[in-house]
């Protein structure tokens, strides 16, 4: 069985700025890979390459062994890649339910009542049932973050890409999301980019640390956080070592 996601020597630069430099990593079913790095390290660009928003200039992306490097974003979604946005991007005029229904109907490939029931059960799981008929643009931040997750889950993805889903939330809110993600982890593969390192450490099996688009460390969360190179680039940033391990 090939891994769910295999990134093979991905490179991308914007002019002089290198956002990915021969990056390789892989994730298996039931596993969570954390990608950490300081601001501007290239985390979101890596994500956009995986999701298909930008193209890799060299290297390959394999989803369940099939090459998706040149596939458009909506095609990758239909092949099983679901993503959330760091800054929530809901369909603002649609309700929370309609937002999730959209994902169930298109990427999720469901029709009619099946799509509606699936969307409803996802809203239940993500704690959004009470808000289901509210316009998504009017939801508070935690609920918009939940909606990002709900919409991605409604795709029934094989690979879930989480982009700083814990950012901007209170400690208690982070814990709610971490529990939710831990609960769904056995059913798919996850790549989670996060600035809030203790949140990702609680769920991730492996962590890759990047800086200027280059991999500087890889291993278990505890090992990566203790790595001298990682400590170095995080100087000045708050490093929550106590929460690791």
């Amino acid at each position: 069985m090939p891994p769910v996601l295999q990134a093979d020597r991905l490179s991308r630069r914007f002019g002089q700025i290198v956002v990915a430099d021969e990056l390789s990593f892989s994730v298996d079913h039931g596993q969570c890979l954390g990608i950490i790095g300081p601001n501007g390290a290239g985390k979101t660009s890596v994500f956009n390459m995986l999701a298909g928003v930008i193209r890799a200039q060299s290297g390959h992306i394999l989803l369940n062994g099939a090459d998706v490097t040149t596939k458009a974003q909506h095609e990758r979604t239909r092949l099983g890649i679901g993503r959330t946005y760091q800054v929530p991007q809901p369909f603002g005029q649609l309700t929370a339910f309609e937002n999730v229904l959209t994902a169930a109907s298109f990427g999720g490939g469901r029709r009619g009542q099946d799509a509606a029931d699936h969307a409803a059960s996802i809203l239940d799981r993500t704690g959004l049932s009470k808000r289901s008929d509210m316009p998504a643009g009017a939801l508070p931040l935690l609920d918009r973050k939940r909606l990002e997750l709900a919409r991605a889950l409604a795709l029934s993805p094989r690979l879930l890409l989480l982009d700083e889903i814990a950012g901007g939330l209170t400690e208690a809110e982070v814990n709610v999301l971490v529990d939710l993600i831990a609960a769904i982890k056995p059913t798919l593969a996850i790549v989670w980019i996060e600035h809030v390192t203790h949140a990702v450490s609680a769920v991730a099996d492996n962590v890759v640390a990047i800086n200027f688009g280059k991999k500087i460390a890889e291993g278990t969360p505890a090992a990566v956080m203790a790595d001298a190179a990682v400590q170095e680039v995080y100087m000045g940033a708050v490093m929550d070592v106590a929460a690791v391990g």
């Binding site: 909506h74 979604t77 946005y85 005029q93 309700t95 959209t102 509606a116 029931d117 239940d124 409604a154």
Partner: protein, 332 residues
Amino acid sequence: MTRASISSPKPALVAAAAALSTICLALAPFVVREGDLRLMIEIFAVFTFAQSWNFLAGYVGLMSFGQQLFIGLGAYFVFLISGKAGINPFLLLPLSFVFCAAFAAVCAPFVFRLRDAYFAISIWVIAEVVRMFISQKDWLGSVSGLPLVATRGMDRTVVANTTFYFVAALALISVFGLYALSRSRMGLALAAVRDNEGSAAAVGINVWWTRFFGFVLGSGLAGIAGATYYMSVFHVEPGGAFDPNWMVIMLFIVIIGGVGTIEGPIIGTTIYFLFRAWFAGTGNLYLMLLGAAAVVTMLVAPKGIWGVLRSRLGFELFGTRRLGPTNHRSSP
């Protein structure tokens, strides 16, 4: 298992309204005087123009300032082909939809590269180019335009009634067809693309083709409505058919009534024709009053009259919301 409803509570009411209005319009030519019938043709045509722009701006998310392009193209298509080939122009009306949709399809790869204001103006530019092209070609009637020769041998009443039935059908389609479309799977895709194209791609929607479908449909609708309207006045010339004033009227109706709603342009069209009747003698002052009314509406009620009424009354006739698992039972 949580059950959810994908229907809003009032489809039966809408179906009843559709049946009733269809019957009324079918009987109209038998009870309405000829002059009033002509006014009704104009009202329904202008309403369909407005609905076509409302569809593009409020449902597809494409703000165009050149919708008059398709009004003129549709009219010229029918006038030219019926005149040269001697084909019954009523048979050509459905084809004017196809012609304008095809024209939009050819433009799409170019204009879709432009965004927002640039897109809006690009269609206007195309409209001006087409207007000037027609103005310089004798075989297209140049600046003095083309008369509708193909209906000269026909019975006047038959022509008037058939034109009325066409335009009434267009008005019905632009209400109930839009209602059906926005509740469909395609409607969901259009709404998603309108609200956030990045997220739309992320949930598996092909953004380009969805937008293309909307653009082609909205352009075709304006085209067939334009063709039908000019058949009721028997003459088309480039200055009038491609007049940016059409765009001003559409903007007025949709903004006053409420963009992105089905009810809004119905209210907007009513207000527009009332304004026109009351201030017809005031010349240019009437255009300034239209503009002032639109500005005031934008400032006081950005969602238009229907937007305000809807939130005040908590009621909408054409509810297109798909209700989720919790509320669908308690809704009236």
